[in-house]
């Protein structure tokens, strides 16, 4: 596959650390989180394979075009509408979590509106860019910040505070039945491949997607999922991990760089994940805007040869985003994100159904 495909998956895998996913998983640590992780890993990899090979058959085409061409309107429109909302919420989740993080750990004295404005101004511009520019920006952001993240992970793994005994204890809980919440939450990490619904438009060449590529994704995914779940346990301890709201922040705050200009690793963590979060929000909302745009096109909104429908969507996105961020509390955020994660299988099911429908339509 081409490199942008990997970027899309990678961004999602990394963002997973700053969404409520680790917290949900760690809450379930005594109720089969490990088995859920394993099952989600297998299912996620399988879905990645299926979705990637499907879009590989239609190079240069996104899902909206395919659905409109091969399926009836009563099916394609509601599907696309549901999907666009899901992608919007996915972006929103990252946005809200990260805003809370910034408020709590970086600039606690600031108003929530100011933190949101700083983020949304840039994100809004990014969302409205050309699809190709979104891909290129993602590449540059990853190129700049992956080294920092890798460095952070190395620091974490070789830190003397990391107690492998706790990790082993957590692993012993493999004999529980998987829980639905933990399963869907860890499935979120593998949703990156679904971004192809729009980005496949720009992938006009037929790609090779075989065992080697799948293994690469599998290895990275397994490593990141393992890190997401076990590293906080290793630092904080197995018994008390349930009570911590931001396990990853507390984890990184226990790492110290003795010789660095910046002593507390948490700031490097915040900065680099801020960049990745921005990329993730831009990707998700860009898809949401494009999906909305494929079903709603207001002709009257023309201004200087430019159609402003997409701008309208983004304004609505921003307003809803600001309203929700200021309305939600941290407790509610976790509850609603569990709810959102729980509906992810529906999204996947819809994606699979529409893929089957498109395939049938294309055959006849």
């Amino acid at each position: 596959m081409n490199r942008f495909f990997y970027y899309l998956i990678l961004v999602n895998l990394i963002t997973n650390i700053i969404t409520p996913v680790p917290r949900i998983l760690l809450q379930e640590s005594k109720n089969g989180a490990v088995t859920s992780l394993i099952i989600a890993f297998i299912v996620g990899l399988f879905l990645t394979y299926v979705v990637a090979t499907f879009f590989n058959k239609f190079p240069g085409k996104g899902l909206p075009e395919l659905l409109k061409e091969y399926t009836p309107k009563w099916f394609s429109y509601p599907t696309l509408f549901y999907m666009s909302i899901m992608w919007y919420v996915a972006g929103l989740l990252t946005l809200i979590t990260f805003t809370f993080l910034l408020l709590r750990y970086l600039t606690p004295q600031m108003s929530i509106y100011i933190v949101l404005t700083s983020f949304l101004l840039i994100a809004a511009y990014g969302v409205l860019m050309k699809t190709r520019s979104v891909l290129d920006s993602t590449e540059i952001i990853l190129f700049l910040f992956i080294p920092i993240i890798v460095f952070l992970l190395i620091e974490a793994y070789r830190s003397p505070e990391l107690n492998w005994d706790f990790v082993k204890v957590a692993m012993m809980h493999v004999n529980h039945l998987p829980g639905y919440n933990a399963f869907t939450a860890s499935l979120y990490a593998f949703i990156g491949v679904a971004n192809l619904v729009i980005f496949n438009r720009n992938f006009s060449m037929k790609q090779k997607f075989g065992l080697k590529q799948l293994m690469l994704i599998g290895a990275t995914g397994a490593f990141i999922l393992f890190t997401t779940y076990f590293i906080p346990i290793g630092f904080i301890g197995f018994d008390s991990i349930k009570d911590i709201i931001y396990p990853w922040i507390s984890t990184t705050d226990s790492i110290r760089m003795r010789l660095g200009v910046i002593e507390r690793v948490i700031y490097l963590f915040l900065i680099s994940f801020l960049a990745i979060a921005l990329a993730s929000v831009i990707i998700h909302w860009h898809i949401a805007v494009q999906l909305f745009g494929s079903i709603i096109h207001i002709k009257r909104l023309n201004w200087k040869e430019k159609n402003l429908t997409h701008y309208l969507f983004v304004i609505i996105f921003l307003i809803v985003g600001v309203k929700l961020t200021t309305y939600l509390t941290e407790y509610q955020l976790i509850r609603y994100s569990i709810f959102f994660f729980n509906t992810l299988p529906i999204l996947y099911a819809l994606l699979l159904i529409s893929m089957v429908a498109v395939k049938r339509g294309a055959k006849s």
Binding site: L121, S133, D136, S137, F143, N202
Partner: protein, 455 residues
């Protein structure tokens, strides 16, 4: 038309008409040449024509050759002969330094122009240690000569055209036929034909007319004075424009990374070149983020730094009577003034200005506690880093984008610096220069992996 009677010969009507249009300029010369049966007329502007050449090439042979027919054959074989333009453009050709010659009712245009600006200049804007030391001249033909002499390949094509503005300046489009991207060449030519500007003076303003957007911060083309950079870009498939009377060439399209290439990189060993390039990127990051970082770290999150450093920074600010962003803004304006002053001043005085400004004022400002010591370090570091950017225009753009970043940092703190920085990056990524993406990581098979949007 001409009457071969005695006395003064009458020139052809067209010539009289043209001369009439050029009057009352004092340098119009309309000279009849006549001896025995032979007769010819010359029309030219004395100030732009090389008199000695005219004498040697046209006037002398006229009197030496035996008949009008011989003279005409001689003139037709001259290398100076130019293609006869339409009647309307004849006047422009005359003002350029061409000589209109009439023999036996036949009109011939000869290029005998005198150009006083064809000395090749020293490189001043983009100096290198190991590279060629001479830049371009201010004459188009000399410049083309300079480039041809360094690039002996028949695939180098040079098309000249005349702008339709008031100065009727000649410009040349240079490209290597084998490597140039056809779509870009087409776009450039289309743009040139559509150009509707009152006056073009130099490459600098010409370059601005070529971009569609009026309000741009980042340059869309590179202006360079170095022939080696021109050749380097030509072999890279770019289009080069030369404007008559300007010692700079325009290279397009550009990508962001072009602005951080100094020709010196080509002349150094691998690791030296790579390290210098790395140094330049570090300078770029320092130059745009440091003022913002200073504000964010002193005013918003001093706890980011290790305790000792945070204390040093805070201790240095003791006694500074205003918030850090005013301090930074004040010092940045000051350093910008200093830079601007040293550019405009005559070279002899500019050294004094920098000494007074940099050394004396810098010390005085800290002693008066108007700015912290660390602020002075930050500002000097920023100024030095700005000068490391090899292409002047990009360093101007960066000077402005760091103000944007400063504003973002003052409003939003440390997260603002990062977000603003990313904002600049994605803005650059989304930009285009003549249809080519402005900023993206260079890699093989790029175009195949993700094509542009087909909108």
């Amino acid at each position: 038309m001409t009457k071969k009677s005695q006395g003064e010969p009458t020139p052809p009507d067209l010539m009289v008409e043209l001369a009439g249009k050029l009057k009352p300029s004092s340098d119009v010369q309309q000279i009849p040449l006549q001896i025995e049966e032979k007769q010819a007329f010359l029309l030219y502007l004395k100030t732009v024509v090389d008199g000695l050449q005219l004498q040697n090439i046209v006037i002398k042979p006229f009197f030496e050759l035996s008949s009008e027919r011989h003279f005409e054959a001689y003139v037709n074989s001259l290398p100076n002969k130019v293609k006869m333009p339409a009647k309307e453009e004849l006047l422009i050709e005359l003002t350029k330094g061409n000589v209109l010659l009439v023999i036996q009712d036949r009109f011939v245009l000869l290029d005998l122009r005198k150009v006083n600006s064809d000395t090749v200049l020293q490189t001043t804007i983009e100096p290198t240690i190991h590279g060629p030391q001479l830049a371009l001249s201010e004459s188009l033909e000399t410049n083309i000569n300079l480039i041809r002499q360094r690039y002996h390949d028949s695939s180098l094509k040079i098309e000249t055209m005349q702008l339709s503005d008031q100065s009727h300046r000649s410009i040349a489009i240079l490209y290597d036929e084998k490597v140039v991207k056809k779509s870009i060449l087409k776009a450039v030519k289309k743009k040139l034909n559509q150009l509707d500007t009152p006056l073009v003076q130099s490459s600098g303003d010409f370059q601005l007319y070529l971009t569609d957007k009026k309000f741009t911060l980042f340059p869309n083309t590179i202006i360079t004075e170095r022939p080696d950079r021109i050749i380097y870009n030509l072999t890279g498939g770019k289009v080069v424009l030369l404007v008559d009377g300007s010692p700079h060439s325009i290279v397009l399209p550009v990508v962001f990374f072009d602005f951080l290439v100094s020709m010196e990189d080509v002349y150094h060993a691998f690791w030296i070149a790579k390290l210098t390039i790395l140094l330049r990127y570090i300078a770029l990051v320092i130059c745009i983020t440091l003022p913002g970082l200073y504000v964010a770290v002193t005013s918003y999150s001093p706890e980011v730094f290790r305790t000792e450093l945070a204390l040093t920074v805070a201790g240095s600010r003791i006694g500074v009577p205003y918030p850090s962003f005013i301090e930074v803004l004040f010092m940045l304006v000051f350093i910008e003034l200093l830079t601007e002053a040293s550019i405009r001043l005559p070279k002899a005085i500019s050294a004094t200005a920098t000494t007074v400004g940099g050394l004396i004022l810098g010390t005085a400002v800290t002693e008066a506690a108007l700015a912290s010591n660390i602020m002075i370090i930050v500002v000097s570091l920023v100024a030095i880093s700005t000068f490391v950017i090899p292409v002047n225009e990009m360093s101007y753009s960066m000077r402005i984008s760091r103000l944007f970043l400063l504003g973002y940092a003052s409003l939003f703190g440390l997260a603002g610096v990062i977000l603003g920085f990313l904002g600049i990056i994605i803005y650059l990524v989304n930009r285009e220069s003549f249809g080519e993406p402005y900023l993206r990581i260079v890699a093989k098979n790029r175009e195949e992996e993700a094509k542009g949007d087909n909108k």
